[in-house]
Amino acid sequence: MQTLPFTYSARNLGRSRLRLLLSVMGSAMVVLLVLAAGGFVRGMTTGLERTGDEANVMIVGIGSEESIERSEIPASVASLLDASVPGLRTAFGTTFVSPEVQVQLPVVAGAGSPEGRLVLVRGVTPTALLVHSQCQIAQGHWPRSGHNEILVGQLAHTKLGVSAAALAVGSTVNIDGRDWIVSGRLAAPRSVIDAEIWMPLADLKEATRRLTDSCVIATLGTGPGAAEFADVAAFARQRLDLEITAMTESSYYARLAGFFAPVRAVVWITAGLIGLGGVFGGLNTMYAAFASRVRELGMLQCLGFRRSAIVLSMLQESCLATASGALLASAAAVFFLDGVAVQFSMGAFGLLIDAPALLVGLGAGLLLGLLGTIAPAYRCLKLPISESLKSI
């Protein structure tokens, strides 16, 4: 099949600047929405996935595998695990075993809601920074036990509905009726920990009047003699007295991600429906573009160009317009949407406009061009050539 020159398709875009503007901006709006949806889904999924580490094993109470906040295990589990399972990761004589309490507490900060908002507060020891390798103190210092100090995640302000300045180092935050001083900022990019508040384990236990931990997180070693998940699972099974069970941290967060599948589906469906509206708008615009040159399409057939070659040229033309819109939307998404914080029940996450999200956006732009062209092209080309040539 001999095709029409690409310049013909490209220059056709310039026939009506208003129509071109409508096509490009219409496509850009739809693609921006798809990118926002993609960024939401990617951000949420990646946030949960990155929070869980393949090398980490969690020990929780039996029956609490789906919610650590409900879990209660004896405080002795951490030391028992360290003593009973050789081959856990160590550094400078410290085993990567982190006993933790995780609890949602009402937090009031700055000019936020006076009743406070529920934020995941994690009671930790310094080994938490070893097992959660994605975390680091971005500003300030580790909270000292007994000094009412806390570390605040970089997205915690989003969860609290206050400005980042309200959680600056040195500011005071009220947690469950008691004031705490922000000693530092915790950075755990692209993970839900970024929206958490950390405080010393002993302080949280004292504040919540509990003696038990929620979980123990341990990192498996590497190389010969390293512990495997099965070793930790065997330990949990054998200690019937502790009523504990083991699971990998990644499987826990993957399961949590699964709980949000309906939310992600709703987001995609909404984006799809709006995209469908965009297709109808595109149909209208492209039909107007092609209907105005039915005679020219007849002339091209008269010269010997096949309908398939003309349809291909039309597709090039409309895809060029929608791809331009998609590129504009992609640039806008990278600059204005990427990293925008969104709160959800688990904390908060940043919209993630990464390569897969951008590919989905560009694909949506091209699909818009394809779907918006086929029907108008068919309608304009179905006329007999002799009829097309009479068109005004």
Binding site: T7, R11, E296, F305
Partner: protein, 238 residues
Amino acid sequence: MSEPLIQCRSLTRTYTRGTETITPLERLDLDVMPGEFLALMGPSGSGKTTLLNLIAGIDRPTSGTLHIGGIDVGGLSRSRLADWRSRAVGYIFQLYNLVPVLTAYENVELPLLLHRMSGADRHSRVAAALDLVGITDRADHYPRQLSGGQEQRVAIARAIVADPAILVADEPTGDLDKASAAAIMELLGRLSREAGKTLIMVSHDPACAAHAGRILHLDKGRLVEHAAATVGAAGVTT
């Protein structure tokens, strides 16, 4: 004596619009010799353009046969017919039908894109066609930058660039002033005489038709009169 290039036998074209059946061309017999310049005249609805479109391969007969250069054009599939058109026929329209977003050069080049040839060969052919119609100096102009007569010259260059045996022209001077029309007719006559093109032209204008070697009058889809032109393509009174 050579064989006719175009042979129509009982050529009929019928259209159905709702419950109404229209027959713009009915049982037409016609032979056109190679190199002949034929003018089709008649009132509106007499079947001139229908016959022209059938010969150009952009319409198909309802019944009867149409052989052009030994090929049963009515029996070709849609894609073969498109290929045949690109090789055998150059169409000249009343309203030129140039692509507004392409330059004169690019418009003339369009039909050659359907043929396998090198860029250099294509360039030389386009240049030759533009030269033949006397519009070389306007090669880089867009149609909106050309006068009607110049646009029609570009359209003629586009029709002849692939060197088809047949040129069909539907009211080629219908949208031109008198001087431009005369120049275009002179050009078409020259193409017939010097390039040996078989030229079939629809016209309402007796002065234009007079440039043809033969004039056919159609009425209600039937051939009503054969006449030799008073001023033939070769400029001979017959």
